[in-house]
């Protein structure tokens, strides 16, 4: 008989417990019995019952007794304890700072959104961001197991090693020093895992979870507006490239979307692209015409993207997304003239203000140390 080593049994137990926890996590509103978990994971019922009891004793699951009304023993049911840990996202945008704290189901508990006033350095931005986050955590009354992970999105590329690589038009505070500065200011949160992500990828993640990006499909997510950037996906997974710098559209000679944005705002007198889009949607023909010209300005850069990645779908996010056909129509026509074959083009459906934050929360949930004491 082959010898079973103690560490093998312990590893298997750990794998099974993790599997049970992920099963609970996937449908946080559902209650599960030991039989449900046993069936779902292919375990024996006694093993499943033991694992769920361990999860309950360690605080990761909540035990409730369900009475069926008949004279039998009540059934033990388990749900994920959503507040065993909290996660957070910080979206450091071109003009505003958005901080959000959520539970383990991804439900946002607290949110802070305000202009950041364009801090002139990484130190000043780190101070603002840390203060906003710490305040939210403090305000979150009710028992919870502490903040586990935070994902920070910013207008720059973040490579595989977590280094920040500013774009040519990244703000002054988006530098390689930001992670260590913010990390120091958040030291009072023990065991916190801090990660950074470029805004386009964070927004694309939200669109994958809740919007127009399809699992398993080649796609390109384009952020156009106050922040411009690209997140390519191959077979539904973010494509990062050899160093994590894929999609650096700011480096393309043919693309100066920021200048195009400045030009259309000056031409129309609108203060922001949001304002211009709102006017266009309200029927202002001048605004609509300006948006059409702006979309044609985007076309050369989008052509390069589409021909480089040859996606099945292109999703337009950012401030322009609410403009829908006002932008998609002229952009699609311009691409069709040059490319012939074009991908399916849609506007993002996740709110462009919240998208990077929601993508950040999704990523933060993936970085929780599930099942640890």
């Amino acid at each position: 008989m082959p010898q079973i080593i103690g560490s093998d049994v312990s590893s298997l137990r750990h794998v099974n417990r993790d599997g049970a926890l992920q099963h609970l996590r996937r449908t946080p509103d559902s209650v599960f019995t030991a039989s449900d978990i046993a069936d779902g994971l292919g375990l024996s019922r006694p093993t499943a019952a033991r694992l769920l009891t361990e999860l309950s004793e360690s605080g990761w699951a909540t035990l409730e007794l369900a009475h069926s009304g008949s004279a039998g023993r009540p059934t033990r049911t388990f749900t994920i304890n959503r507040r065993r840990r909290l996660v957070a996202a910080l979206d450091l945008g071109a003009n505003n700072l958005l901080a959000a704290v959520a539970d383990l189901s991804g439900t946002v508990l607290r949110r802070h959104y305000a202009p950041h006033g364009h801090p002139g350095s990484a130190e000043l931005m780190a101070q603002q961001a840390a203060a906003a986050l710490l305040r939210l955590v403090e305000e979150e009354t009710g028992p919870h197991g502490g903040l586990s992970s935070v994902v920070v999105s910013l207008p720059a590329t973040v490579d595989r090693d977590g280094r920040i690589l500013p774009w040519s038009d990244s703000p002054a505070w988006a530098t390689a020093a930001l992670p260590s500065l913010l990390g120091e200011l958040l030291q009072e949160l023990p065991g916190l895992r801090l990660r950074f992500e470029g805004v386009p990828l964070a927004a694309a993640e939200a669109e994958l979870q809740h919007g127009e990006l399809q699992a398993g499909e080649d796609a390109v997510f384009v952020l156009a507006g106050d922040i411009t950037g690209v997140a390519p996906l191959i077979e539904g997974r973010p494509y990062r490239g050899a160093t994590g710098a894929a999609g650096a559209i700011g480096g393309l000679d043919s693309v100066d979307w920021r200048a195009a944005t400045a030009a259309v705002l000056e031409e129309t007198g609108a203060q922001t692209l949001d304002e211009l889009v709102a006017s266009g949607l309200a029927g202002d023909s001048d605004a609509a015409a300006a948006l059409s010209r702006y979309a044609e300005h985007l076309a050369p850069g989008v052509e390069v993207l589409v021909r480089a990645f040859d996606p099945a779908r292109l999703v337009l996010g950012g401030c322009l997304a609410p403009a829908q056909e006002l932008v998609l129509g002229p952009l699609g026509a311009a691409l069709g003239r040059t490319l012939g074959t074009t991908p399916t083009m849609v506007c993002a459906s996740v709110d462009h203000v919240d998208a990077p934050m929601l993508g950040g929360l999704s990523a933060a949930l993936d970085h929780v140390e599930w099942g640890t004491p």
């Binding site: 690589l165 490239g241 050899a242 559209i249 040859d310 996606p311």
Partner: protein, 378 residues
Amino acid sequence: MSDLDGSAVASLRRLNGSKVLSVLRAEAYRKFTVREMSIATGLSRPTVGRLLDDLVEAGWAQSAEGRPGATGRPARRYSFNRLRGLIASLDVGYAGVGIMITDLVGSELSWTMEWGLALETVESCIDHVMPLFSQKLSEVSADLGLDEDLPVLAVSLSAPVIPDADGVHVDTLSTVNGWRGGSFVPTLRERFGDVPILVNNDILLSAEAELHLGALSTSDQGMFCFLAWFSSIVLIHEGQVHRGTFNLAGDVGSLPEYRWPDVIVEALESSGFNHPASVGRMLEAAANGHEAAQDGIRSVGQGLARGIADVAAMWDPDTIVFAGQLSTAPDLLFEPIESGLRALGSEDFELLRAEVDPEKGSCLGGVIKALDAIDWTV
């Protein structure tokens, strides 16, 4: 004793037979004893012995007496029958054709190229290629001392087209006008019968060859820059050619933004050469110190640099390989290209020249795809 389902036994036998064939193919020049094959496959010796005899009978394996040793009867040895059939790999274009015939491990048995043609239509292309192929096939048979031609087990056709699922050509910028909307498949099917017939873009096949046999073999996220009269880029993702949704991934050269076809034409004209076949003459003249030709080469490099850098910015490759006729150009072609790439700020990629013979690349890539397409289950 339990009753075994006959179909299950047959399936298991087929599975095991395929396993043995797979080991034979993987070491196609090795002669295995039954014992050695039993170790390699984990199957019992009696089972392996029976399966090897089946494979010999079906023509997939050959057997021979082993060499006498000090004691005992020498063990019979088995090897893959590389000449059970042949692979036909055809590379066609407006001005030239290439024909490669290989055995079942891809070893070249025949190679020929013809240039200076003008194949205006699919029909004229086929009318030229098929008799030439038949002639080469006969020569192979004669070289092997055979009275009859060996069967062709798979066919690859490489062309400046992108085929749709039915094998009908989809346009690329380099597709010959008279070829648009046509298809090679019906005629190939009539000639070769019910074997895998693959039609693929010629540059994609060159990239496949470089991936399996050349400078891209260690690349995960690479770029294959094919630089010739018609230039294009093929992307490598997780060690495989990334075709994209419409088989156009990387093909930025065709965009008006970059004007790659015009870049080559202008360079040729300015240096006094004005025909596609003159790219080779321009390269030769530049190597011999002809100043106008050198200026032409330099301007080609400058013209291609932006598109290559833009795709590199998008793709973030670990390796960039330059292939095609222009990849043999002197360094003054590559200086502006390298300068554009370094301006991206990354030093993390390797710049290499292709290692596969540019004339044979498409055919070799075709052989690789054809071997993959054969049903090797016994």
